[in-house]
Symmetry: C2
Subunit: 334 residues, 2 copies
């Protein structure tokens, strides 16, 4: 059901219906306003689809700025499109709200649409109901048939790359939990990574035809890289110290002050979760092409390991020595 | 994110991953197992999309049989496809669960997949998390470009039709609420209408090129018909007594026993909610074609009113006399 069905709930219309925006997006034949939206991918295009559900206390704190939450709810979905190399087209939003809270709706919709507009991704429909706060977004993108980045294409000898920064979101979460303290500036940076992740949409599209496999890093690098290894039937060696270099607040100098030891840093970078970066693989012969794609999409990338025929994931330090430390994924059901 | 990402949560895989089913459906190029699913509508087809969110205590009772809930969660989405005349292709399922309850998961997935398989509608992805029980399904169907049934095509002089039965779901809800009592047999019938609605998928497709407008009756006939009137810029006269004839337990004789008076019957049929029938309009010249579409899809239909140029909805009795009784829609936010 779509919003105009909810005329009993005019406030939703007020914050989410944007009739002037209807049908502006190529590929959206009919947006909000009927029983279904109609998508019309261009000839030769496939439609990439992904759904994510965000629950209070599990994916976000009750105290989060609603504009940041609106951003994040769409960002985690766009990150899935990015991992497939798809161009965003539209999304549906289903929302359970405990009550009508106008400032909250205003902030949430503002953050949501700012990111949606930045990516030309149109709200095409949705549903609202009263219930414990729950945000369910399904996102649609298009990708030329046969060019989507999959998890299954990694081959022995390929480099392993990561985009952007890793670990900061988890570090911010640990501060909120009271398990860590950070200087104010470092906390602001880490908190922005946690609350306003940057989906790597342009990088994903630039990597089509270059990357052999890609995955969205949402549950921690080690866990998500494991999906590439499993789908591709390969193993890997991962340089923990190269990954640790990607902690933004460390690059900013905060780690040098001895805030946490090297084992903690490795744990945040390798299994922190909530990063919404891309982990991807590419043949060594494609290094220049990967770096061009990164420059073209204004997204930093770093080489952090290598795919090998031998099954399993071997985590080593910068000197190539195996680490005894164990790394798990972030479990949204724990 | 899709299920194989949730390897920390093997039980979800056990009940929802059906690897042997992958890619069986024409139009689904890649199902569960990557960051996105890939849909490939056939040339000339548009993709119809709709999302519905079901919350415990609002859309279903906590005591409902999980297999019936699995059926209903998909049925309410298929009903939106039906209202557009689209052929089901696939769906995503995002599920928040308070705890792992294996008998519940087994029942829910059994009911869900029984209906999905009956309609050739493939589970292509989803998300699971811990949280207050919440079921969010986004469904995809295909429809030849330009042939989707919309709400905006009704014209003065068109007949108004309704499919199937109306009001029984609301009657069952009133029994659960303790406001009504029914004989056991009538309650069983009404309860099945509430808990296992029949999406009118075949009828919707059969009405392409015949119906001028259509809407899914989910919030009550009067409210949902109002969406057709608003989108089409027309008014209507609705025969309350013709609609009341569509209460299944009345056709079955229960109403003759004087269980509720005519005003209560009209209220259930016209504004009960949770019917998941189609209300549609068609030119009077298309009556034979509508009846053929109904026979072809083995779905009863009944003529219950007429579209008029004069704005507004006039509810009359069988003799054409205006009713003083007011009819609202069912408000999921009240």
């Amino acid at each position: 059901m779509l919003w105009p069905l909810m005329n009993e709930f005019g406030l939703i219309d007020k914050y989410f219906a944007r009739p002037e925006r209807r049908s502006r997006t190529a590929g959206v034949a009919l947006g909000v306003g009927d029983d279904c939206a109609l998508l019309a991918p261009a000839p030769g295009m496939q439609l990439a689809v992904s759904s994510d559900m965000l629950v209070e206390g599990r994916h976000f704190l009750s105290t989060v700025d609603p504009a940041r939450l609106g951003h994040k709810a769409l960002a985690v979905n766009l990150s899935d499109l990015a991992a497939c190399g798809a161009k965003p087209l539209g999304f549906t939003l289903a929302l359970a709200l405990p009550a009508i809270d106008e400032p909250w709706l205003a902030g949430f919709s503002r953050g949501l649409f700012a990111l949606a507009d930045a990516h030309g991704c149109e709200l095409v429909g949705g549903d609202t109901t009263r219930g414990p706060l729950n945000i369910c977004i399904t996102v649609f993108g298009e990708v030329p048939a046969g060019t989507a980045l999959l998890r299954s294409g990694a081959r022995a000898g390929d480099d392993i790359w990561a985009s952007g920064t890793l670990g900061d979101a988890r570090i911010a979460l640990e501060v909120f939990r009271g398990a860590l303290t950070l200087p104010a500036e470092a906390f602001t940076l880490a908190r922005a990574r946690m609350e306003q992740p940057t989906p790597r949409v342009a990088l994903g599209q630039a990597l089509r035809g270059i990357a052999s496999a890609a995955v969205d890093v949402s549950d921690g690098l080690v866990g998500d890289l494991g999906h590439i290894l499993a789908a591709s039937g390969v193993g890997a060696t991962l340089d923990a110290d190269a990954a640790t270099q990607l902690i933004a607040i460390c690059a900013d100098g905060a780690c040098a002050a001895g805030l946490f030891d090297v084992e903690a840093r490795r744990s945040f970078a390798l299994s922190g979760g909530d990063d919404y970066e891309l982990a991807f693989t590419a043949p060594a012969s494609a290094r220049v092409a990967v770096e061009q794609a990164a420059r073209h999409s204004v997204t930093p990338v770093a080489r952090i390991g290598r795919i090998e025929a031998e099954p399993g994931l071997r985590v080593v330090d910068a000197g190539g020595e195996p680490l005894a430390q164990r790394f798990g994924g972030f479990d949204h059901f724990a």
